[in-house]
Structure formats: C-alpha cells, structure tokens
C-alpha cells in the first residue's frame, strides 16, 4: 500500500514529469511545422494530410536529432531531471549516424512521453477537480466526458472524494512510470556508443600515462632531494665540532632542498590524486590490533600468530597487508559467520607472508570466489601483483577457505 502511494510524495516523480513536459515544449516547433503543413494542405484528402503531418513531425525531429548541440542539451537535461550520470558526448571520427539515430529515437520517445503524460495529467486533474469541486459546491448533475453523472449533496455524494484521490494517485503513478521509462532508456539512447566509449578509453589511457610519467618524475626528484639531504646530514654530523659554520651551511642546504621537494610534492600530488583525498591516513599493520578487536566483538574466534618485525615494513607493504587482512576477515565473516579464523603474519628478511584460513559451516561447499566477494579479492590480487607479490584465495584443505599472500619487501626481489 505504502509503495503504491509513495510516488505521490517523491520528488523524483515530479522531476520526471518536468522532463516529460520539457519534451512537450521541445516538440512545439515540430508541432508548429506540422500544423503549418496541415493548413497548407487543407483541401487535400485526409490520408495525404495526415501523411504530411507525420512527415513534417518526423522530418523536424530528424533534423534536430542530427545537431550535436541538441544531443548535448538533451544529455544535460536528462542528467538534471533524472539524476543520471550520462557522460558528455565526445567527438568521434568517422560515422556519426548511429549516434544521430539514437538521438532521434530519444527525441521521439521524449516528446511522445511528454504528450501522453500531459494528456493523462490533464485527465486526472480534471476528474479530481470536477468531481470534488461539484460535491463541495453542493452537488449537481454534470456531464463528465459525455457521461451523465449525478453528484448528490452531503454524505451521499462523498464517494467523489476517494474517486478524486484515486484520479490524482493514478496521475502520480503514471508520472512515476514515465520517469522510470525515461530513466531506463536514457543510457541506451543518450549514453556513449561504441565509438565514443573507445574515444573515452583512449583519453583515459593517455591520462593514465601522463599520471605515470608525473609519478615517475616525482619519484626521481624526491629521491634526489632525499639523497642530497642524507649526504648533507652526514656532512653536518661530521663537521659539527670541527667546522660548525660548514655544518650550519649543510643544515641550511637540507632545509632548502626539503622545502622545494615538498613544493614539488604539493604540486604533483594535486594532479595525481584522483577524486577526493582521504582525510584520514590509510591504515597500516600498526592498526591491526584495533581491527581484530572490532572483529572479535562479532563473536568470531580469531587465532593470530605473528612472526618477525612487522613494525618496520615498507609503508606500501604494510598498508597492503592491512587491506588484505581486512578484506579477508570481512569475507570470512560474511561466508562463515562465527567460524574460527586463523591468521598468520610473518615478516622475513625479503618477504611478508600472510595466511588466513577459516572453516566453512556444515561442510557447505565453498562458493566460487568469482561470484562472492569477488571484486574485493580481485582488487587485492591485482595490487599484490603490482607489488610483485603472489596472491591466492580459494577453497583450502578440509572444506575450508584459505587466503595467502606473499609480498616482497624490496622493490627488487
């Protein structure tokens, strides 16, 4: 019941309605042309007149649909009204006809929906106002769309209230239906076609290459500054007593070069950073204890054993390890709630090893990783391999689930 009424108070319904009405407005020039054709062909047989009207409508729409600005404008309109995130059109080399055809289809649908919705809205509102209004006005005999209707005064005519309400509700429901239809069709007709998707991908690849180049340059320049600073710091330490002036110069040089490196970082990171920056630093293995504590609160028995020095791992490795543990634990909890989990973290001289295992309840066959929690595991796999490590996750021995990751601690294994 509630779901039935909900479209009446959802802003979404009326945004869609506005969009449909915009379709009516947009069609006005075409309708004007069509009417002009109708007037000119006044003396001709009806078939010719209707045919002319249709050709004029279709022709105007087709011409409008071929204009790139019309498409861009419609995409913007749809995004506004439907809250869709359709990408802006891209210039594509070669054939533009498929795109134009889709735009024409959209225009046709948009305008047709608009006129239909306008008609139903007028009908529903008229019904509600007419029936309700006459009853409030003391009742009367009226002709309602050629149908004679008697509305009695007082309680006997109170049936008009639910009927009026039903009329308004149907209007809202139809509007919601039109919104849903437009929203479902917009990506197909206004979204990127294969050519545009290709162009978008090309642009993306170029951007990534640029980012990579910037990252590499940043890596180099910061590396050089840190090297120079390390050397100068050693100089300052060496000369502290024998030549304090020179030691001071070395310190000043460190200050200066660190400052310029930070400026460089500031500048390039602004470019490199995709989307919003996190306001909190990424977690590392140092945050492992609170994570496990939270997980234990869910009633899961976690057996943790660590080996080696986990506090001095490279930051990248430590962050990745935290993500692996977090993702692995979340998966374990999701698929086998309350089943005990064992976690082994071992830092060697060259590698960090992470092993996680949990039993699956009732010897239920483990579900395929591709379908469940797949995105997360695939992401982990990709990132571990980027760090030149190894990652496996899947059914282990004795009907349990096993996750294992090996990450090298140096850039060169």
């Amino acid at each position: 019941m509630w779901t039935l009424i909900s479209p009446t108070y959802r802003a979404d319904t009326y945004r869609g309605w506005t969009l449909a009405m915009a379709g009516v407005m947009v069609s006005l020039p075409a309708v004007a042309v069509a009417l002009a054709v109708g007037l000119v062909s006044g003396g001709w047989p009806p078939a010719v007149r209707w045919g002319g009207l249709f050709v004029a409508l279709a022709g105007t729409t087709a011409v409008a649909g071929a204009l790139p600005a019309v498409r861009r404008w419609n995409i913007r309109l749809a995004n506004r009204a439907l809250r869709t995130r359709l990408p802006a059109p891209l210039p594509v080399p070669g054939r533009a006809w498929p795109v134009r055809a889709r735009t024409v289809a959209w225009l046709t649908l948009h305008q047709a929906t608009g006129w239909l919705l306008l008609t139903t809205t007028v009908l529903c509102v008229t019904t509600a106002v007419a029936l309700g209004g006459v009853w409030i006005g003391g009742g009367d005999d009226i002709t309602f769309f050629t149908l004679p209707v008697h509305i009695a005064a007082g309680p006997a005519g109170a049936w008009t209230v639910p009927v009026s309400a039903a009329a308004l509700l149907s209007g809202a429901l139809l509007s919601a239906l039109a919104t849903a239809l437009l929203r479902a069709t917009a990506p197909v007709l206004l979204g990127h076609g294969p050519d545009e998707r290709f162009t978008a991908l090309e642009t993306q690849v170029r951007e990534l290459e640029q980012r990579n180049r910037l990252a590499r340059e940043l890596h180099d320049s910061v590396g050089h500054t840190l090297t120079a600073s390390t050397v100068q710091a050693a100089v300052a330490g060496e000369l502290m007593e024998t030549d304090p002036a020179a030691a001071r110069r070395a310190l000043a040089a460190i200050e200066e070069s660190c400052r310029s490196a930070l400026d460089d970082l500031d500048h390039v990171l602004g470019v490199l950073r995709e989307g919003r920056a996190a306001t909190t630093p990424e977690h590392t293995l140092a945050d492992l204890a609170p994570l496990l504590e939270r997980l234990r609160h869910t009633g899961t028995d976690i057996d943790v054993r660590t080996g080696g020095d986990l506090t001095h791992l490279p930051a990248t490795v430590s962050r990745e390890a935290y993500r692996i543990v977090q993702e692995g634990m979340t998966n374990a909890l999701r698929h086998a709630p309350r089943a005990p989990v064992t976690l082994r973290l071992t830092a060697g001289s060259d590698w960090l090893a992470i092993d996680m295992a949990n039993a699956l309840p009732d010897h239920r066959p483990p579900r395929s990783p591709a379908r469940h929690g797949g995105r997360g595991l695939v992401g982990l796999d990709e990132r571990v391999r980027l760090l030149r490590g190894e990652f496996t996750a899947g059914p282990g021995g004795e009907g349990g689930w096993h996750l294992s990751a090996r990450i090298p601690l140096r850039a060169a294994p």
């Binding site: 090297t227 120079a228 390390t230 100068q232 100089v235 000369l239 140096r410 850039a411 060169a412």
Partner: protein, 224 residues
C-alpha cells in the same frame, strides 16, 4: 692500508650531493678526492689527466651520461681506473647498463660513508665482487627476455667444470683467497682460473663476468 691514499674522482651532477660526498670521503684517512666532475665529458678529461685509482660515477647526467663515460674510460685508457656507479635507486635500469658497460660495482649514494669507503677499498684491490646480493637482485628484476642473450651459454670455448665452480663462488662475493681456501687450491690456481673465466666470457671484470653468467644461465640467481 699503508702508503699513499687511494685517489678518487667524484662524478655527480647534483652539487649538494657531490660536495657532500667529497667532504665525507675526504675525512677518510686512506682516501683522497683528487677531482670532481659534473658530467661524463668532464669526467673523461679529468680521469685522463688525474689518473685516479677509483671513479665514483653518477649515471644520469647532462652532456654525457655515466654509461657512455664508463664505456669510453674502459676503451680509451690503457689502464682504466676502477669505476663504481653511484645511484639514487637500487632498482634503476641504467645501473644495469652501466655495469654491462664495464663498471666494477655500484653503490647507493645514500649509503653510510663507511660503506662507500669500504666499497672503494674493495674495488681498488679488484678481487672481490661488490655487494653480490645487490647484483643478484639487479639481474633478477630484469625481464627474462632481456636476460637471455641470444649468444646464450654457448661460449666460443666452454667453461670447464672447475671454472664454472669458481664463477659460481665469484657470484657469491668470495675473494680470490677465500675461493682458494674454499676449494683447497693455491691462490695462483684461483687467479689463473679467474682470468680464464674472464677471457672466455669476454668480461672486463668480475662484475661483468657474474652478470654475464647470470644472463646466460651458467649461474642461476639465488642458487649459490
């Protein structure tokens, strides 16, 4: 160390790093920095006129890079100085190229000065591979295609079993006396074998021989 100090030529384009390294290395009693160059071309001139024992060579420099400078020093001078490549990053592709061009070893610029000085002394005596683990890692990061030399393990004159053993021990960083002790043979025998290995591989020094050995698969990185 007795007698005259080892003479060094410092080649590095970044002034802060260069002057810093000069100050630090000059403080070592047995080392003397006799010259400084900011690029490869300058390094060639100074190496020819100053005749240093060891050149500390940066790789990426304007005008002439360290790889080209290393190659020219090796080719032009009858008794070329020992060359240690100094680098910002261990996993730098150019370091590998410089070693292939005939540098005797490489070391991080950020290494503590004691370690750099140690490397200089070690390379000056010439019978030990500098930082065998670092060299192994450097080879291991190369894509396998780049490692497989088409000339491959087929050498004009194949290594004898003994020579292969010695090459393997060279790759682990053992010096000639240590190899002699390990194989219970005389120093002279080891020296002869080492020189044969270098000749057969067409290598200019131990580092190059070990890299070639890794590349051709005569020695597999990670297997001592």
């Amino acid at each position: 160390m007795t007698g005259a100090p080892l003479t060094l030529l410092l080649v590095e384009d970044d002034e802060l790093t260069r002057t810093g390294l000069r100050t630090l290395l000059s403080a070592q009693p047995d080392l003397a920095v006799v010259g400084e160059a900011a690029d490869g071309a300058e390094a060639l001139q100074l190496a020819t006129s100053l005749r240093p024992d060891v050149v500390l060579m940066d790789v990426r420099m304007p005008r002439m890079d360290g790889i080209e400078a290393t190659r020219r020093l090796r080719a032009d001078l009858e008794v070329p100085p020992k060359i240690i490549v100094i680098t910002t990053f261990e996993s730098d592709d150019y370091v590998y190229d410089a070693l292939r061009a005939g540098a005797d070893g490489f070391i991080l610029k950020r290494a503590p000065v004691g370690q750099i000085a140690h490397a200089v002394r070690l390379v000056a005596t010439g019978d030990t591979l500098l930082f065998p683990d670092a060299v192994r890692r450097l080879v291991a990061t190369r894509p396998p295609t780049a490692r497989q030399d088409p000339a491959g393990p087929r050498l004009p004159v194949p290594l004898t079993g003994r020579e292969t053993d010695i090459l393997r021990l060279m790759a682990t960083g053992l010096s000639n006396p240590q190899i002699a002790e390990h194989l219970t043979v005389s120093m002279e025998t080891v020296k002869t074998h080492v020189s044969n290995v270098l000749t057969k591989l067409g290598a200019r020094n131990r580092t190059q021989a070990v890299i070639l050995a890794y590349e051709s698969g005569i020695v597999v990185p990670g297997q001592g």
